[in-house]
Amino acid sequence: MDFLQNVDWTQLLRCFVVGGLICVIGQILIDKTKLTPARILVIFVTTGTILGGLGIYQYLVDFAGAGATVPLTGFGYNLAKGAIEAVKETGIIGAFTGGVKAAAGGIAAAVFFGYIASLISKPKMKKQ
């Protein structure tokens, strides 16, 4: 846990604020529109991919770190970044392999943990 002694608090604050603000945008969409959660997730991932492709999202990532990469826009950014880097290496094939390759860890983890969760647990009534 040595790394905790060198924590850059201003960096962490930037991460907290940017991450929080991205979520606030999502919350406004939930409360002010009739969009379903699936649609909101799609809007975020697509926006992130386009902004990532245009190179704009990179500035936000440089500024806020995980505050920009953990929200779903960051997932989109990751897809776009992977696609572009792979295109640089392998051309047109890269456009097809790069995105999923970059996001493979997350997708595979979600699928695997989803399966495991369905094995060990079942839904319960919301008690609130």
């Binding site: 960096q11 962490l12 991460c15 907290f16 929080g20 991205i22 979520c23 606030v24 945008i25 999502g26 919350q27 406004i28 939930i30 409360d31 959660p37 649609r39 909101i40 997730l41 799609v42 975020f44 991932v45 697509t46 992130g48 492709g53 990179q58 995980a66 990469t69 953990v70 929200p71 779903l72 997932f75 989109g76 897809l79 776009a80 696609a83 572009i84 792979a86 295109v87 640089k88 047109i92 456009a95 097809f96 790069g98 995105g99 999923v100 860890g105 997350g106 983890a109 979600a110 699928v111 943990f113 989803g114 399966y115 495991i116 969760a117 369905s118 647990s121 079942k122 839904p123 919301k126």
Partner: protein
């Protein structure tokens, strides 16, 4: 009150919108802000930890995703995530935790229809569109980059 709300469908919709209670948006945004910020900060700390172990940025990012997704899946399996989601709204939906929850929750729900067509088939009912649109957009981004990177447009 509109004098004759049932005159046309449009009038009725307007009347209903006036009658429908609004969500407590300020409270919701505040909760979304701090929970979302907190989840990102946890991600940042994991990232620094990976960096201190000598992993590069891309790999650290993947570790962050896997751990947050695992954590979210765990909380979903414990029947806790929906309570967090109800409290935090977009604060837990927008981070990668929400993506994980939207895969794990249908997997659990449709277990009753069997493991192949239930869990396997219905797992992506909520999150499938995210992958479809995210991946498709990334392919378009790659192709566009391929076409235009010879021009003087700076991309990434």
């Amino acid at each position: 009150m509109t004098p004759k709300p049932l005159e046309t469908k449009k009038d009725y919709q307007k009347y209903v919108d006036e009658k429908s209670p609004n969500s407590p948006i300020l409270k919701n945004c505040f909760n979304a802000f701090w929970v979302g910020g907190l989840i990102c900060s946890i991600g940042q700390i994991i990232m620094w930890y990976c960096a201190s172990k000598g992993l590069d940025t891309a790999l650290s990012g993947t570790v962050v995703s896997i751990l947050l997704i695992g954590f979210s899946a765990f909380l979903t399996a414990l029947n806790v995530f929906n309570k967090i989601g109800k409290f935090a709204g977009a604060g837990s939906l927008i981070p990668i935790t929400g993506f994980a929850n939207s895969i794990v929750s249908p997997a659990m729900e449709y277990k009753s229809e069997g493991y192949v067509m239930g869990v396997g088939g219905k797992m992506f009912t909520v999150a499938g569109p995210v992958l479809v649109f995210g991946i498709s957009t990334s392919i378009i981004v790659g192709i566009v980059y391929l076409i235009f990177n010879t021009q003087s447009i700076t991309l990434v």
